[in-house]
Symmetry: C2
Subunit: 348 residues, 2 copies
């Protein structure tokens, strides 16, 4: 007994296969009576249309690919979850393409990556693609366009691609202005090293926003107050130890470019016997789930919503045929918790 086919349903309902197809696809050109009979037959047989056959015949797969780095990080998992839900609600499957951490000398990872852009993505299994935080080589970008399907990027500008992106400078300014408004003047920053194949210069833009806010407030940016972390708790911890260990120029506030680094900062402060926020204010970026537990003030960027918006955008482009290729700004919001307060001895 193979699985039921459209033929079986047609026979049972006493109509042609074309009618079954139309009825089940919800086309308007089917009488309600017929549709009901077809539905009943389909249910009775437990019929579900074969995606492969349907795809081949129609040219639509009802499947979307998502290319994503760092599956292990909370942030990207949230984005993925947002994509998944939005797609599933529209009946779409999601095929996951994970891009591994890019160690330059890792041959195997490089091979996997190449195979992704040259083989997997070209199998016509997907109607469209969502690319999250990808910095691509020209060859890879060309490969992406060559698949000839709508493409939506999240988090970085891709040549000729609709992209949802966060205004990193504005976010960093907002975080820094929050600290300034509390009277802080010695504000340190833990950012990220500029890597080659990721982030689209994100660390740089956040640092710029930080400096812009300082300058606008008449505070002179001090390079000694800037450290780089690797966006992990540990990285933030270590950078914060350096910053807070300096006896002379210890900052009264630290703005970290990610919540995980901010949490590392809070832990470092504790280990040094500093109280947060009495002795040190800390603010991060992301809206990480742990932020609540640590009382972390942050600029939330709603990662799950980013995934949802990307999926909705892509589905829209699949619906109408004209791709727009616009840049869409992503929402963000300052979320004040217990890790920030008026500067010691200062006044707001």
């Amino acid at each position: 007994m193979g699985a039921p086919t459209i033929q079986g349903v047609a026979a049972l309902a006493g109509v042609s296969t074309a009618t079954v197809s139309r009825a089940l696809a919800g086309k308007s050109s089917v009488s309600e009576a017929t549709r009901a009979r077809v539905r009943a037959a389909a249910t009775e047989l437990g019929y579900v249309a074969s995606a492969t056959a349907s795809s081949l015949a129609s040219g639509r797969t009802r499947n979307v690919g998502v290319v994503l780095p760092y599956l292990g990080s909370w942030f990207y998992a949230q984005v993925l979850q947002g994509c998944h839900r939005a797609l599933a609600d529209q009946g779409y499957d999601l095929t996951l393409y994970h891009l591994e951490n890019h160690a330059p000398d890792n041959k195997r990872a490089a091979g996997r990556r190449q195979r992704l852009f040259e083989e997997f993505l070209h199998r016509k299994r997907i109607d469209g693609l969502i690319a999250v935080s990808l910095e691509l080589t020209p060859a890879e970008l060309e490969g992406l366009h060559r698949i000839g399907r709508p493409l939506v990027g999240v988090g970085g500008p891709l040549e000729g691609v609709t992209t949802l992106s966060l205004d990193d400078r504005a976010v960093a300014r907002l975080a820094t202005e929050h600290l300034l408004s509390l009277g802080h003047r010695t504000i340190a920053h833990i950012g990220g090293a500029e890597r080659f194949d990721l982030d689209f210069g994100l660390p740089g833009r956040r640092r710029e926003g930080y400096e812009q806010a300082l300058v606008a407030a008449g505070v002179r940016p001090d390079p000694a107050l800037v450290r780089v972390g690797d966006f992990t708790i540990q990285g933030g911890y270590e950078a914060a130890l350096q910053l807070l260990g300096a006896p002379r120029s210890r900052p009264t506030a630290i703005f970290a470019a990610s919540d995980e680094m901010a949490i590392g900062t809070i832990l470092a402060a504790r280990d040094l016997g500093l109280r947060v926020p009495e002795d040190l204010s800390v603010v991060g970026i992301d809206g990480h789930e742990l932020g609540d537990f640590f009382g972390l003030t942050t600029v939330d960027q709603f990662p799950q919503k980013q995934g949802r918006l990307a999926a909705e955008r892509l589905l829209a482009e699949l619906g109408q045929d004209g791709a727009s290729h616009v840049a869409v700004p992503l929402p963000y919001e300052l979320r004040v918790r217990r890790s920030t307060a008026v500067a010691p001895g200062g006044s707001a």
Copy 2:
């Protein structure tokens, strides 16, 4: 210009489409000379076989589904990553089916879940399925079998399904014995509440292992030393506060059923002014990435490897036709770091 088809390759190579198919599929019945010509033609045209057409014709999709809960948690993301890599290395795509958190009154989530088991999984888009930590209703399980494809479970026994599972009792015994061997006698446990639709009684089994180890060492289990958390840092923190706040019967060691709860325990101890490990030893389960930072002693269960093993198992079942339906034990290993030490005033 549509994408190149097998026809174009055949024409360019001067052979039939059948030969192109065979040559590219690596069948032995093609002369090396022909194969080389076909390869060259395919490369020249940038030809990649359409997965949908190939699937329809052959009945094999080269795609595997992964059903997974809690995408947001580090642990499951690791499992997924392990699956993905193993599958991709064999040329398989991975279609992700995320099962949302099961709030009993959440109609939308329940609807999504039902649709998954009755529609998405039956579209013949996948050759097989990996089910991670799913506790299913009989109807859902029946639905899974009805798709008529190989099935591999991770983390819980599914009726008539090959399952990779951790010996939770043994793991809990190992963790507890580690503490006992350091001279601890007042050992508390932070476990999980038994939920209805998940975990296969995992919290219960871990608690049993804990009690077995105690009894074997001549220590009488004390229900007052057991608290439930929700497997998060926050949950562990709160449970630990309760445990450590009791002035009379404060434990010298805490065994948490997950690393995240163990980390919460460490943070709670710090907030109470207790030193780890001098005043309190802490051990967890998982092998969480944060364990290193916090110096957490744990029983590692290699989640990424779990995903890889599941994928390899499934691919094996796809290769040979006979499903085995055996239970495969998962590896684990005690990993001693700085959070455990000899009991205060005791001796090992």
